[in-house]
Symmetry: C2
Subunit: 243 residues, 2 copies
């Protein structure tokens, strides 16, 4: 049996941001498992079975990957960005914890360029000093915890990256997030809305916190918040190394 699960990050979208080790893992896979739009980024070929699945079935998908690997398959689990950042790696280990009979399956995680860092690069260097990453979705945690982390992160003067700022099922929470930030930060704090980073539809918009509105974010947007020292130089936004 040479079965294995390799959990890989496809980066934010651009093929030129996929690492060679991820490309090699896909070339050797017998099966690819993941959310429909991410599996769609993998070229079909003979000997490779694609298993696209819907959103919100991450645990089922992870268990399926482990089971196929236990039966000898070389399964690549794909995430966009980095698989360890609000993506499939944690789901696979959760599934493993629930299934001690699959504990012998070798698991490897191959990192990728996460959306927050691709967005930062596209804008300049807004995460150039201490920063945090927060998933704004309350699908899996109470919104109270999101609010608590936001306030403490602002008080710590972290720059911030927000994943999943807004979705069809949660249209109004991002307005609440902006309100909390306005209570904790100065009105001129820089906010970056980075949509579809590294794809042909990439759009980077930089506004002051006082001018930010909830409709500036959608499901394809990563939002970056500067710290109190973050500023513009020319068309770029950066955070000094001393802040």
């Amino acid at each position: 049996m040479s079965g294995a699960v390799i959990i890989v990050g496809l980066g934010p979208g651009d093929a030129a941001k996929v690492t060679p080790e991820v490309t090699a893992a896909l070339a050797e896979a017998t099966d690819v498992v993941g959310y429909i739009p991410y599996v769609a980024r993998v070229a079909p070929r003979e000997g490779l079975t694609l298993h696209p699945s819907d959103n919100r079935v991450e645990l089922d998908r992870a268990t399926h990957a482990l089971e196929m690997a236990a039966a000898g398959a070389r399964v690549v689990v794909v995430s966009s960005g980095d698989p360890g950042v609000f993506a499939m790696a944690s789901a696979v280990f959760e599934a493993l914890e629930a299934r001690p009979d699959l504990a012998h399956v070798p698991i490897t995680v191959l990192p990728g360029i996460t959306a927050m860092l691709a967005a930062a690069a596209a804008a300049g260097a807004p995460l150039g000093h201490d920063f945090c990453a927060i998933n704004l979705s309350d699908n899996l945690k109470p919104f109270d915890l999101v609010e608590r982390r936001l306030r403490l992160a602002a008080q710590a003067d972290f720059a911030m990256g927000f994943y999943n700022p807004r979705s069809k099922s949660r249209p109004h929470q991002f307005a609440r997030v902006l309100q909390i930030l306005r209570e904790e930060c100065e009105p001129g704090r820089l906010v970056i809305f980075a949509r579809a980073v590294s794809t042909p539809e990439q759009a980077i918009r930089v506004v002051r916190l006082i001018d930010a509105t909830e409709d500036m974010a959608d499901m394809r947007t990563v939002v970056l918040i500067g710290n109190s020292a973050t500023r513009r130089v020319g068309d770029y936004v950066y955070t000094p190394r001393s802040a």
Copy 2:
């Protein structure tokens, strides 16, 4: 004049983690600027001038890159990891701010696999939920600010990644960091010391906070701290998606 500055991330060490766009940028460069050990990772070739420089001269190096680009050179500024995370991108924008006469130089930032995320992948998925990144060096900021961010991050129950935990010039601060964490977190909190990630010398050590000692980190170590829900499954460490 076709001069430009391209600030790239070489990833944590392994060539298989360098993105194709970074490899392409290096292939087209006339000049490569950076800290000595990172420039040493770029293969010499005809038509390419390497400009290695010492640590702590980041601003001079950045200004030099902008000046060469203004004179028509295609300059690649190399960092390890991601250039936007405690690396050269902020230094270049700081240099640009100080030199309005160089404002016309086109600057591009190409992201890379940052050490924290490579370390997380090597350990499992310890940054699988909200997390923060803190540079523990007080070369450029007061240690009081480090301490304040540490306490607030612990209170927010972020997982954490620490860059520059310990150096020859700051041998004792990391002991103070561990003491602060012990005041804020439970004794069983998981701590990961990830040394020389993705190189042949890679070593991953997982201990409880109560067992962590300052000598477990050195200049080549990234330290990851789990959040209150981070746990082991088999040989892996992961943070559940709900925490």
